[in-house]
Symmetry: D2
Subunit: 366 residues, 4 copies
Amino acid sequence: MRTFISTIFLLALNVCVAQDQNRIIEFPDVDGFLTLKADLHIHTVFSDGLVWPTIRVDEAVKDGLDVISMTEHIEYQPWSDDIPNPDRNRSYHIAKKAAKPYDMIVIHGTEITRDLPPGHANALFVKDVNEIMSESVLESYRKARNQGAFIFWNHPNWIAQQKSALPKITEFHKKLIKEDLLHGMEVVNDLTFSEEGVKVALENNLTIMGTSDIHGLVDYQYRLENGGHRPVSLIFAKEKTEESIKEALFAGRTVTWFENILSGREDNMKLLIEASLEFVNKRYIGYSEVLEYDIVNSSDATFYLHNTSPYDFYANTDIIEVIPHSTKRLKIITSQGDVSKDKLTFKVLNAVIGYKKNFVIKLELE
Amino acid sequence: MRTFISTIFLLALNVCVAQDQNRIIEFPDVDGFLTLKADLHIHTVFSDGLVWPTIRVDEAVKDGLDVISMTEHIEYQPWSDDIPNPDRNRSYHIAKKAAKPYDMIVIHGTEITRDLPPGHANALFVKDVNEIMSESVLESYRKARNQGAFIFWNHPNWIAQQKSALPKITEFHKKLIKEDLLHGMEVVNDLTFSEEGVKVALENNLTIMGTSDIHGLVDYQYRLENGGHRPVSLIFAKEKTEESIKEALFAGRTVTWFENILSGREDNMKLLIEASLEFVNKRYIGYSEVLEYDIVNSSDATFYLHNTSPYDFYANTDIIEVIPHSTKRLKIITSQGDVSKDKLTFKVLNAVIGYKKNFVIKLELE
Amino acid sequence: MRTFISTIFLLALNVCVAQDQNRIIEFPDVDGFLTLKADLHIHTVFSDGLVWPTIRVDEAVKDGLDVISMTEHIEYQPWSDDIPNPDRNRSYHIAKKAAKPYDMIVIHGTEITRDLPPGHANALFVKDVNEIMSESVLESYRKARNQGAFIFWNHPNWIAQQKSALPKITEFHKKLIKEDLLHGMEVVNDLTFSEEGVKVALENNLTIMGTSDIHGLVDYQYRLENGGHRPVSLIFAKEKTEESIKEALFAGRTVTWFENILSGREDNMKLLIEASLEFVNKRYIGYSEVLEYDIVNSSDATFYLHNTSPYDFYANTDIIEVIPHSTKRLKIITSQGDVSKDKLTFKVLNAVIGYKKNFVIKLELE
Amino acid sequence: MRTFISTIFLLALNVCVAQDQNRIIEFPDVDGFLTLKADLHIHTVFSDGLVWPTIRVDEAVKDGLDVISMTEHIEYQPWSDDIPNPDRNRSYHIAKKAAKPYDMIVIHGTEITRDLPPGHANALFVKDVNEIMSESVLESYRKARNQGAFIFWNHPNWIAQQKSALPKITEFHKKLIKEDLLHGMEVVNDLTFSEEGVKVALENNLTIMGTSDIHGLVDYQYRLENGGHRPVSLIFAKEKTEESIKEALFAGRTVTWFENILSGREDNMKLLIEASLEFVNKRYIGYSEVLEYDIVNSSDATFYLHNTSPYDFYANTDIIEVIPHSTKRLKIITSQGDVSKDKLTFKVLNAVIGYKKNFVIKLELE
């Protein structure tokens, strides 16, 4: 019902996209840093995506994101018959303008889209995408880096490029890393997670990234109506500024959030879990040897804690489920251990900090 | 114990959009006709909309629609710097192709976008939109009509064109009607409903239309997460074919469905309500004078029935609420009337068949 | 992202019944009075009910009630083979003790259970039920009254006693009223509502009462899992004390809440509706003649407002639905009236203040 | 609103308790047996419970149970001042009669309530509870056994009797077992689960039992409104008859269902899991080495499958969550193993078959 005649009325029915409390992604700030929710791999009609950039801003507002980036393929432009796209910065500029009414940062980015190696990569914090286009992949990376880019390898597990689905770092990738041309790597992309990817990222000191790589609608792709969410990177930044986000990415301070899985470097995971789970109200039940404890979860994750201590529980097996934004009461049968020295220890099944390696929580009981 | 998540077989990561049982718009077929759910006013990036045409197909599949039409503005092309759009049939062709895997009809249409009079109008069942473009509005209408178009007036209540919000039929409109160039009129557009519009449509024998006129995302605009739905026209067609839909539109066999309001010609409303509500299981409670009756509602509408008979109810006031896809038991105090002659009569508060006029249900009690 | 499970701190396995935010009955306090939620007709195993009195306290805590009364039948004791019940105050004493941890008032009551006339009646604020037992119904009423009782007629529409379902006040009832032995009357009992009852109560200046008369479980009888609620009386009291409640009942300051229907004396309804609905943010949309208005509903009732003014709406028919604890935006087409003198008037379809009579809201538009 | 005058009208408003699809406990029948859902430890006002026996039938109908038993304490009768209870079979007879309209079996039972050892025990399939009362605990057990009873030890982990919360089998218990006076043991009681109990039961060849031991309301105690359920024993019986249930209990064919935990003997767990989970639609994605597999869960349990094979997944970590009544797609990276010999193996984290021992699923991939 909009027209060319008057735009003044646009505001009437439809001012801003409203935040929707039910779908906002929520994780607490951590010790010393803000926890910024970021999706840094997004497509629009300006490459092979299916929406105008403003819709990407609307979706991100609904999801409560702090940071997004339109990362159009430089080399892949399937709609070019309809959208000739001479200026590759259009997508960024449209999104940037649309984000103005909101407290959201739009980062100037693009996707350098090549066969393996090196495969696809996103360059963030660039100045002019047109300048980055080049026959030579190395030149593209260097031009992006010269503009100050943080560059990360996309979906290294992608079966369209890697039949085995196992990320394989090549000599070319090592060269890129050595020349300061590759800084991060996706372990989460769209609906996929790569545990092997976590290993490769850690071995090569690459920042661990999780992104949606959305082409269609976030709501449909991640089944929001069933409680799903888009994959994101949680970035631990000193401030909510582009500069601070850049510093955090180069410093590797991220944890990815995909379905119910958190993955990241152990130090980052420690920050996040210590902020998300609080252990309180320790006391014995009556005269019994059963000790009660409350676990308060202030995050969106359902934590699965696998008891690895000598203790059993009075009202649970060894797998403790702590649902989002709730409190779980534990009842520990202390007679099975020695509370003066045996800690309560949990492997956090949904917190991956390495290949087949989970974060471990240790709690004093005395 | 069924969970809130319905069983879904996702065929692949990304292939087809799944229907979502919770949001499918459902009305029963009526006596002699199929009830087709149609949204015949839709925009994409090929005029001033915000999505690629394929997304419109995805949304419609989710909503369980039978018929859609991309109706891009001929005269309003705000994205033309990015999308030059030399062939105005592109949007139709892309949607048509995307709809192939589904049982959905895409009708070739366009929006002729002028100041009042005549205002905006959609032409459906056209052959080539490029041919319809003309400086002269009358010529545009005639060219569309020559292609066989069904033409309807859009949002005649729109405050951007009509400060009073009251549709006003002009001599120009009358001329169009007389020349067989105007066949229908929206009484529902986007988030608006015009009771005055119902009057004007009926007086001028125009087909009553309800459309979304969607530019952004259906899910956000109509708050699907809160149980909302897009406005549609229910079309009573002999078959699910383009030809049959065309016949039904020219014959005026429509009822609009907006929020919880049905509006339409009395004969069409009668068809729909008789198919939607069944009155069964009449019997007295024990030896009392209270007569029980079940009302079975097989539609998505919550019916509000206002009792206008001499009878009171044993478990209700005079306003009876019959929620969607459920059964409501009525308990009628028969001692207040004479069941041999006094019928049970209800004004259906959510079924508008004229200006300040509601459909009336009459039931024998004997 | 909030889950569907609210944060609950269970204090122990079994100690206290937790309030459940989803089912607490909520109506705002009104001008000059607290709005107390009361269920004053309840049975336990001490007459023909099916639960121990403590369960009645648990249910009432869950429902957020302020006042309850166990009103066991004096003359009907079907479980007497198992429960000889020599002291008819037992039920009160057990409930009273169980209610101690909660902010809830338990009123000492009983049900005098006779054929018509006078039928069943509850006596509240009694001292000793044993004393009230008598062969003579009149003597029972007098003894109760001598103890200070407020007495109300139960389910005068009950088809087991009144085949027509129409309450009929007899000479005997008039005599009771004259002798100050009858002060109120149920218009709502369990799953029934009597519009004729409202008329009879008003004509005879009896306090309008709504009660559950629960025998089984509140959760099952009123389908709490589907969003149902037990019928209650809203009592407008100066303080949350037994004395103040008694004063309010004798003064007739009640409104009943049954399914979605409020019924009561016009002055009481006015208090409740003015507290429940606020009309704010009046302004014109752009340069149009459409005036916007927000209706804020702070109660559990879904209000159905039937427009009876000359104005139409831009986004609604004449039936406006204002759902609980939400804001509804109205868009008034002012060109159809004269805002300097024509008020916006609504019949509140769910607010019954007499036989076929609804409360009316009048709003200035200037 | 019920009265002593006429009972014929009781049927009018309130005939039967309706089943509630959302809360019915659902597990599939297993190979060779029906899966009967049983709660065999229930209290009413005839010992220290808080409801009349009919309510227990209503609750069980709502939960979709097949078998229940009222098991009143012989030795503990706190309401005896109000309910003298001379015939200890009353509770059974009332429940039995109330269950007639439903397809539900009520088993005659009682609870022999002593200090440790032997603690509390339920005797099922008895003929006359009055006969079982005795000063001597051994005599009580023998009298029950002479009536044909199946006897099981209740809450051996209960901290009110066992401060450590660890079940300890004594010489006395061994003597009972030897004399055929003890046949089963609760590992689940109310809100508690005892992993140590599973060990003790298996070591002593006792049937593994899970019961609610409900005293208040099932809905409140197990937070049905939040998706909770009462603990039950799933009994694998040849027919739905009392005789067949008895045979199954003596044969030890049970699995307990508590929160999300299944516990039982390995052979029984195998039956249940093979009936609950189906693995279908195996095929490779395109030309990749990723093999897809669908897991169809037809039970109420959320299965947590811990991958212990050499394979990783393309869209998951090693913990696979399979929600109730849904299908989960697995994407197996086959390049990490040898599909001709390496099976896909999962430890089922929510299926306990011994102390710190979980059921294991092994799947061929070829």
